[in-house]
């Protein structure tokens, strides 16, 4: 009885559900503390105290009808102004209130901009490995997701293939830096190269190609690495932001789109995106949380926690003989499977109570993703299991 689109999606669901069910069974069998769940990108760092304070202060001081009522579909003007000011201060941009559209998280933002831009058959490019939901989001609007194959040496984008895959039907390109699942950050040179290719192809085809920067991990960059702000390198850039990771608020569904005035047909896109936010059923970003993030705009999550996890896990996996590039950002490590079929590796890991996600889920088989947004202690205690896993595959030196 369900729609054809949902039938396809439901068929793909069983693997994830099975893993979830298996995890629950393992926890029941061995005790939850003996199951090392590295499968989910759910931040383990609490939201800053300032978030709690802001919720309490706003809830007790603001007028209820204002606080919980409808506002413009684009969000409270004061909140959008605060976001614009913050971005301008941080990045030397010059956004104003009309360039900011508050969204139901980055997932909401991506859907809004794709609905705004994509006609059936339009192509959206992205770089493998990529967050599997991109495919689902593009299909929502009957677009076609085209993946550029991964450069497994560095996991930096494969720019030669990127240029080859751009066609007259390419309407948008999604980039995600710091990257899920690899932890890679695109350098300024990479961004400049992507921009140059897009400029060239726009001129060649006489089209506009929008660069959608999905950046929920922007603040999760280690070793002082700066993540370039993409609107400064390419005019037709849309930024899709979320506080899910930066303030540990994934359940609250709060983020924004930046729709720069320099874009081709900027006003048309800005107006349409606000309507898309409404008609998609989001209506507006949750009102209390809009006011909370505005008040906490200068707050940062404690990335030292993730950095410590990163160093520990990376050191451990290196020592055990696993192959992996050291992540520069986000809280994921993308590890080479010792066997070609990484699902076999994932299954073996599960026997040892290690829950990992197969790279196939990111269009990059032969690898697994380890989400290290977990308690440090979980990493420490998982060591014997990883050691046994390494030994099983004959990796240990």
């Amino acid at each position: 009885m369900i729609s054809e689109k949902m039938k396809k999606l439901s068929a793909g669901k069983s693997a994830i559900r099975a893993m979830f069910e298996d995890g629950k069974k393992l926890a029941a069998q061995y005790g939850a503390e003996n199951v090392y769940d590295f499968s989910l990108g759910n931040p383990n760092v609490p939201a800053p105290q300032a978030v709690r304070d802001a919720i309490v202060e706003i809830a007790t001081s603001e007028d209820s009808v204002y606080l919980h009522g409808y506002m413009s579909n684009s969000g409270y003007e004061t909140v959008r102004q605060t976001v614009a000011n913050f971005l301008n201060k941080e990045h030397g941009t010059s956004f104003s209130v009309e360039n900011i559209l508050m969204t139901v998280g980055a997932a909401g933002g991506l859907n809004v901009i794709l609905k705004t831009l994509i006609n059936p058959g339009d192509e959206v490019l992205t770089f493998a490995p990529y967050f599997a939901e991109y495919g689902n989001y593009v299909i929502n609007y009957d677009g076609v997701l085209v993946a550029v194959s991964p450069n497994t040496e560095t996991f930096q984008p494969n720019l030669v293939e990127f240029e080859q895959k751009i066609t007259a039907k390419t309407k948008a390109v999604i980039v995600n830096t710091p990257n899920n699942p690899t932890g890679v950050i695109y350098s300024e040179e990479t961004i400049q190269a992507i921009a140059a290719i897009l400029e060239k192809k726009q001129a060649e085809f006489g089209t506009s190609i929008y660069l959608i920067s999905d950046e929920p991990y922007r603040e999760l960059a280690f070793d002082g690495i700066k993540v370039p702000y993409l609107t400064k390198y390419y005019r037709n850039t849309v930024v899709c932001y979320s506080w899910s990771k930066s303030l540990s608020l994934p359940g609250e569904r709060i983020g924004y789109l930046v729709l720069p005035s320099e874009m081709d047909d900027a006003q048309e896109i800005i107006d349409a995106a606000s309507i898309a936010n409404r008609v998609s059923g989001f209506v507006n970003a949750p009102s209390l949380m809009q006011l909370v993030v505005a008040r906490c705009i200068e707050e940062k999550t404690d990335i030292a926690v993730y950095d410590r996890n990163r160093e520990k896990l990376y050191g451990m996996l290196q020592e055990l003989g696993f192959e992996c590039i050291k992540p520069e950002g986000a809280f994921y490590m993308f590890v080479k499977s010792p066997v070609a079929d990484e699902k076999e590796f994932v299954a073996k890991a599960k026997e040892l109570r290690l829950l990992l996600v197969p790279g196939s889920s990111f269009a990059c088989p032969g690898y697994v993703r380890i989400a290290y947004c977990v308690a440090y202690d979980t990493i420490v205690r998982s060591e014997p299991s990883f050691r046994e896993l390494a030994a099983f595959y004959g990796l240990t030196k």
Copy 2:
């Protein structure tokens, strides 16, 4: 550059935007207190104090990672159980946790169930006058909204035409009771008649037809009228609920779907709806607000405020010679335009600083909607303007 679908939607936008801009101009010219804005369904009754208390208590006592983190795409199990228990107690139903899917408001819920069910070309029936967004939501999934024409005597559904318009392609029927924009409540007999027609047509065509009950106004029923709970009358019923009006939380985007186990292909639909919630970009209903509404499940808005407004406005309009049925629920009055083209009437009203919404926006020209979720004083002070309007059209007796 925007998509064809958004071009159509953007073209339709100008009228509403123009009204909004005109309202602002009027406020600047005459003072906001001299503009009587009856255009928006934004509750003027504050959320109950218990909502504020719950926000503060939950924010200060719950673990941050639990409170703001990801949960199942269907929502917190405890919240879903609380909703199921509440419905079972109120309506004698027997829902359990898997029958409840927490959503980003009713708009989110409607989109989730339509995405779950609708294939391109499928027909969705509804009764005029209806909330214009239904059309936009159905188009999101390339469905076709088919409207049953209004019975302008009673604004009860036209059941003869309803039966005629059901075809083999009819996949769903949306009903909205208490109704926006008429304030009408469907009686138990009406619900039984709708159910009987649907059963008959399902048998005739060998199809399943899902009845989607959009009921954000359920608790806003006056004079002690009971609003029948539709799952008890028809097996293939999906309920779409929101706390936007019942707890005055429209900006927070919090509601739920009821997906009864008795439905045809219930398990398939339940599983698919959870995926639809995720891939549409909602991911999950906002987490803090889920916990808040669960704690406030027994709370009610102060409907006496709306009732007082209803009596005052209805009495006033009657006295002035306007034609209108007395609303039984919600906070809208649907008034007959004294001239066939109600947009002319709306324009004249605007000259007198009365902001009304043309019935054409609800697929029912010749009428206007007055949203009386405003301060009582606004109604009182609007009287001279309504009087002048009535005099202009020669209505005053």
